[in-house]
Symmetry: D2
Subunit: 362 residues, 4 copies
C-alpha cells in the first residue's frame, strides 16, 4: 500500500468566531532578546494571526518561540534573536478571541479513534512495531521523491559495524537529505574509517588494538591538522562511513558542540545557539525527521520541529517525527507532544537502522 | 566463516595435586530434601569428583545443586529432590584438596584476551553487536545439524506481527528444538491465531476490536473447553503462530505456571518445581540456549544451564547461552556468570528475531 | 492535613436505564474450569448485577474473573475455580442493558481535573513525588488504625541493610498487615539474619565472606533441616529482619513459588494457583497495597486487586494501590489501570522505604 | 566512624626503571589547536614526567588532554587550547620507558580486595547502598571543613518540591562549594521561586495553573528583561530555591549552554568550550564531585575530573566522584573508569538528595 499524504483541512474563517475576531495585538520588543509582557508563544500546530483583517499562517513555526510580524508575514523568532522594536504578537487565547487561532485538528481525516488510542497508550518495549516499520518504509520511499528526510544521530550510533554500513547505504540511496549530530558521532565514525576501530576496538571483531584508546584522539588531531573533515577525507583517503557518505553525496550535516566534546573537529559549532540556528535551517526544509539514540539532540530537534510544513506551492502537509531509542522514558518524552504525527519506536537504534535498510531493499 | 566447535581440554589428572588427591567425602542426606552439612554445591563449569581413585565428571550439571554419587555416576540433584540417605559429596575446595576439581578453563584455546575484555565490560545499548549476530547465524546453522537449540520466550514476545511470523519461520526451518515459556506467551500467541488480535488489538493494524479485551479470556476459555491446545488447534482450525508451529513440527514446549496467570491453559504446569523438572529435561539436551525478553524464565533457565554438555560419544562441548533483552540490568544479570559462552544482546527482542530470520535467509 | 476517606457515591438505581433494566442472564458453567460462552468478565471497578429485580454489588471482585450467582450473592471466581453448573452471569455491556452495571465513577468528588491529568501523563523519573510521599504518610497513619496495609516485596529488597531495617521497623510499628513475596526474598532476608550476609557479602560492609556464595544455600538447607521458618528462627536464635519481624508481630506472609527458586523454603507454595488463592486471601482484606521492586508479584497482585473494598458495615471505600519501581516501564504497566487510586513512584525501593520510615517518624 | 583521608604513596623514584629512565621527549605543537604526532594523552591517574632528570607531577590533570611543559611545570591542555610551539610531551608508554610514569596505585592501602570486587561488579538497582550513604555523610562532613564539594545537577532536578528544598538546605549549611548545571535547571528552579510552578504545575500539589505552560517562558523572559539572575532575584524578590541559595551564600554556579535551551538565561555560556573552561575552573578546586540525574553534564565533568588533587601544601589526595542516576547504563558508564574513588548510586536523584539532607541532620 503506497503512502498517501493526508489532506490538510484549513480553518473555516467564515465562522463567526473567526470572522468577527479582532486583529491580533502587537507590542514592540522592549529590548534585544526580550519579548513584551503577554507575548504569545507558539505550539507545534499551525497557527494563524489576524493582521489587518486577514488571517496569516506562520509558515515556519517553532514551539515556545514568539510570532513577529514583518514584511507582511509572520516570522517565528527565538527570544535570543528578537530585536528591540520587533512587533511581537501578544495574547494567550487560541480560538480567535484575540486574533490568534491555534489549528490543532487540520489533519483530522486520519483514523482518529485508532491513532488516538495509540497516542494515549504510550509506547513500550512490548508495543508491536510491525506496522510502524511498514509505514515507515512507505513514507521513506515517498519522501525520497517528494520530501526531505532529516536524520538525527546519537554519539554511539557509529560504533556498530552493521549499523554504520546500513546508514551509509541509506545516504547513498538518497534517503537522507540532512544529518544532525555532534562531535562524538563524527569522531567515532571517522575513527572507524581512518583506523578501523571504535574507541580503539576493531569495529567488527571488537578486538582491542594496542594503545587503541589513542585512536579517537589521533583521529581528531589529524582532522584538526588537515584543517577540515573534507580535507581529512581527501588526504587520508577515507572511503567509508557516515560522514564520508554525506560528503560524497552532498548531504549537509550539522555538528553541534557540547560540553562533553574532545577536540573538537573543525566543523563543530561551538556556540550552541548558532548551532541551533544551523540545525533549524535544516529543519525548515524537513518533512520527515528521525531521531536515533540521542537525548540531547532529539530534544533539541523536537523543540524546533512543528507538526506541519508549508510547501513551496502553498500546500500544508504533515511532518513525520520519529524517535527511536532503547528507553521508554526517552521515547515517551519525545513523542508525547499531542501530535498524531509523532511516533516512538523502543529498540536499539542499531537494529532499527539495519531493519530499515533491509526494508528498503538496500 | 563456518562455525567450529572449540576443543575441550580435559584436566591433567597426572598432576600431583590431582593424582594424590584423596577420594571425595560423601555423607548421607539426613532427610528427604536436606543436604548434609558441608555439602558441595555445583558451579556452571565441568566438575570432577574422585571416587575410588577415579575422577568422575558430573555429566549433567546444574548450578547450586548438589552432587550425589550412585550407580557409579555423579548425579546433580536439586535440594528438594534429595532422598534421605543419598550419598552427597561434601567439600568446598576446588583444586583437588578434597577430591573435588572445578575445571573452569577447559575451553581455553579461544581468544582469551579479547573475550575476557568483552566479559569485563558488560554489554550496553552502545555495544556493537554486528559480530555477535554473524556468529550467531553460524552457530545456529551448525546447531541445526549437530545440536539442539532451546528458545526461551517472554510473555509479550507474540504481540508483534513480524516477530511472531519470524519465529514461526525459525521453528519450521528446523532451528528450534524446544521452546520454554509461560501461560501468557501461549495465550497471546493463540489469541493471535484464533481472533487475529493481541490483547484485543488487531495484531497488525493495532486497531481495537469491539470488546477486544475479552479476546484473550475467550481464547483461554475455549482452549479449556476443547480440553487441550492440540485439540483447540484442530477444532478451531488454527493455522499460524508459534504454538501452532511447534505442534506441527513436533517441537516440544514447556509452559511453566506463574502467579500472574489467567486461566490457565490446560498444558501449563501449576507446580513450579515440577515445571523446573520439565524445563531441565529440555535443558539436558540443549547445546544453545537463547532467552528473549523475560526476566523470570531467563533466570530460571540460566540457573539450570551449565557451561558444557557431554555428548553421547563422550565429547565435552560448550553450551552457548544468549540473553536478549532491552534492559542492560537484565542482560548483565544473566550473562555475568564468569562463563565465556554467555552473550548478551541489548535490544528489543522483536527486532532481534526479525534480524535472525533475515540472517538465516528465512 | 489528616487523611480523609473519599465518600462513595452509589449508582442512582432510579434512573430509567437501570430501573427498567432486565435481570442479568445466567448460564451454567459447561464443565469444571470453563465458563459458558458470552460470560461477563470483571473490571477493577464496582459492578452491580440485577438479580430478581435487585441490584447486587460484587463485594470481592477480581479483574478478568467471572461473576457467579449463589447464596444470594455475587461471587467472583477464577476460571480454574469454576465448577460445572455454576451460574455464571453472561453479558458484555456495562450500563444496565443486560442487567450489568460497571460503576467506574463512584469516587467522583475527588479533584478530577488534577488527578485525571496526573493519570494521563504517566510517571517518570522526572515526576515530582513530594506530595505523593506526604499523602502516603497520611494514608499509612490512617490505615494503621482503620485499614489493612499489604506489602509486596521483590526478591532483592532485603539486600540493603538500611532498607531491611526500615521495613522491619515498619512492621513492628504496626504499618504492615500482610506481606507477599517469594522464596528469594525470604531466603535473602534469612541469610542476612543467620549469617549477616546477602549472597555472601557482608550485608553492611559488602565485604565478601570466604566461600560466601554458599551462604544462601546453607541458610535454605538449614531451614529445611529445621522443618519450618518458625522453627529455624527459634533454633538458630534469629533476631532481626523482615521475616523475623513478621513472625514476631503475627503479620502473615505468603511466599509464592516460582521457577527461579532454589530450595525452596518449606513455607513456599509450589502450586502457583494455590499461591494465587493464598495471596487473594490477603488481598481480600487489604485497603492499601504497596508493591516494591518486583514485576512478577506486582502484576500478580495488581491483577487481583479491585479499586474498592466493601467494609464490614457495608461502606464502600477506595483501595489505594502503589507501585514503586526504578523502571518507568514497570510503574506505568502497573498503574495504567484507569483507576484514580493507582499511584506509581519511580525510584529505587531501598530509598523509598527509608523515606517512608523517616516520614512516619520511625 | 569519622572520615579519614587515605595516605598517598608516591612512586619510588629510586627504582632502576625510574632512576634510569630517560627524559621525556617534547615536540612543539605544529599549529594552534593541534598536537604533534605521538603526543601523550593523560589518564585520570597521577602522572609524572621526567624533565631535566627530575620527575614532575602534573598537578591539575584532565583525561584525554596533553601534557605541556612550561614555566618548569607540567600543564594539562585541551587540544583546542594548544598554541603553536607549545612543548607537548610525546610517548605512549607508562612505566618510565620514555620518561613518563602513570602512577595508578597511589592510594593502595585501602582495602583492595573488597573494593576491587565492588568495582568489577558494576552497580545495579539491586546493589546495597547503605554503606555508601553512611560513607558519604562522613565524607561530606569532612569536605565541608577541609575540601570543596562540587555538585552537578540535571535539568529536572528542581521539579520536586522536597528535593529542591533539601538541596537548598545543603547549600545553606555549607556543603556545596560550587554548582554546575545548565539553562533548564536554572530556569525550572527560578520558575519555582517566581511563580511557584514547575513547567506550569504547582510545584507541590502538581495542580495545573491556567496557561501554566507559559510560566517557564515568562520566567526566562523576565530574567532577560531584568538583565541578570542577580538582578531578577532582587527585583522580583525571589526568596527560595537552588539558584537563590547559591547567590545568597556566594556559591558559584556555572550554567553551560546546550542546543536544547530555551531563552537562554543571561548567565548561560553559549560557547560550549568556554563553558568547559569555566567548569574546569571549578573542578580544579574540587575534592568531591557529585553528579545527579544528568548524562550530558556528568560525562562532561567526569571527563575533566582526575582521581587526585594536589593541595596547596603539596599533599596529594583522592578526589571522590559520585554519579547518581536512575539508569544503570548511565551510572556504569560514568563510574567504570578504573578508579577506586568512583562510586555509583542507582536511584532517583530526588530521593537521594532527601536522604543526604536527612543523613546530614539538615
Amino acid at each position: 500500500m503506497a503512502f498517501e499524504l493526508l489532506q490538510f483541512i484549513p480553518p473555516d474563517f467564515t465562522l463567526p468566531a473567526l470572522a468577527n475576531a479582532p486583529d491580533a495585538r502587537m507590542e514592540p520588543a522592549p529590548k534585544d532578546g526580550v519579548a513584551p509582557e503577554g507575548f504569545h508563544a507558539m505550539s507545534i500546530f499551525p497557527e494563524y494571526f489576524k493582521v489587518n483583517g486577514e488571517w496569516l499562517l506562520a509558515e515556519e513555526s517553532r514551539m515556545d518561540c514568539v510570532p513577529v510580524y514583518g514584511d507582511e508575514k509572520i516570522h517565528v523568532i527565538e527570544f535570543r534573536n528578537l530585536k528591540a522594536g520587533d512587533k511581537v504578537i501578544c495574547g494567550r487565547t487560541e480560538r480567535g478571541e484575540e486574533g490568534i487561532l491555534v489549528h490543532a485538528g487540520g489533519f483530522a481525516e486520519e483514523n482518529r479513534e485508532e491513532e488516538t488510542f495509540a497516542f494515549r497508550q504510550g509506547h513500550s518495549r512490548e508495543s508491536s512495531f510491525s506496522r510502524d516499520y511498514d509505514e515507515l518504509y512507505e513514507l521513506l520511499r515517498y519522501e525520497k521523491e517528494h520530501g526531505r528526510i532529516l536524520w538525527v544521530l546519537g554519539p554511539a550510533f557509529a560504533f556498530d559495524y552493521d549499523a554504520r554500513n546500513a546508514f551509509a547505504k541509506i545516504i547513498r540511496a538518497g534517503y537522507a537529505h540532512a544529518v544532525l549530530a555532534g562531535n562524538a558521532l563524527a569522531a567515532h565514525d571517522l575513527e572507524g574509517a581512518y583506523l578501523k576501530t571504535a574507541l580503539g576496538q576493531n569495529i567488527y571483531t571488537q578486538r582491542h588494538q594496542p594503545n587503541g584508546h589513542y585512536n579517537h584522539l589521533d583521529t581528531i588531531n589529524r582532522v584538526r591538522q588537515d584543517g577540515s573533515i573534507k580535507s581529512f577525507i581527501e588526504k587520508e583517503q577515507i572511503s567509508d562511513g557516515i560522514i564520508y557518505s554525506c560528503e560524497q553525496c552532498g548531504v549537509p550535516f550539522v555538528l553541534a558542540g557540547s560540553i562533553r566534546d574532545d577536540g573538537p573537529l573543525p566543523e563543530v559549532i561551538a556556540d550552541v545557539y548558532r548551532a541551533q540556528d544551523a540545525m533549524r535551517e535544516q529543519v525548515r526544509g524537513a518533512t520527515t525527521v528521525i531521531c536515533m539514540a540521542t537525548m540531547l539532540h532529539s530534544i533539541a530537534v523536537g523543540n524546533m520541529t512543528p507538526s506541519y510544513r508549508v510547501l513551496q506551492d502553498g500546500t500544508v502537509r504533515k511532518i513525520y517525527f520519529y524517535c527511536v531509542d532503547i528507553s521508554e522514558f526517552m521515547v515517551n518524552k519525545l513523542t508525547d507532544r499531542g501530535s498524531l504525527s509523532s511516533r516512538g519506536i523502543v529498540t536499539n537504534a542499531q537494529d532499527f537502522i539495519v531493519n530499515i535498510a533491509n526494508g528498503l531493499g538496500l
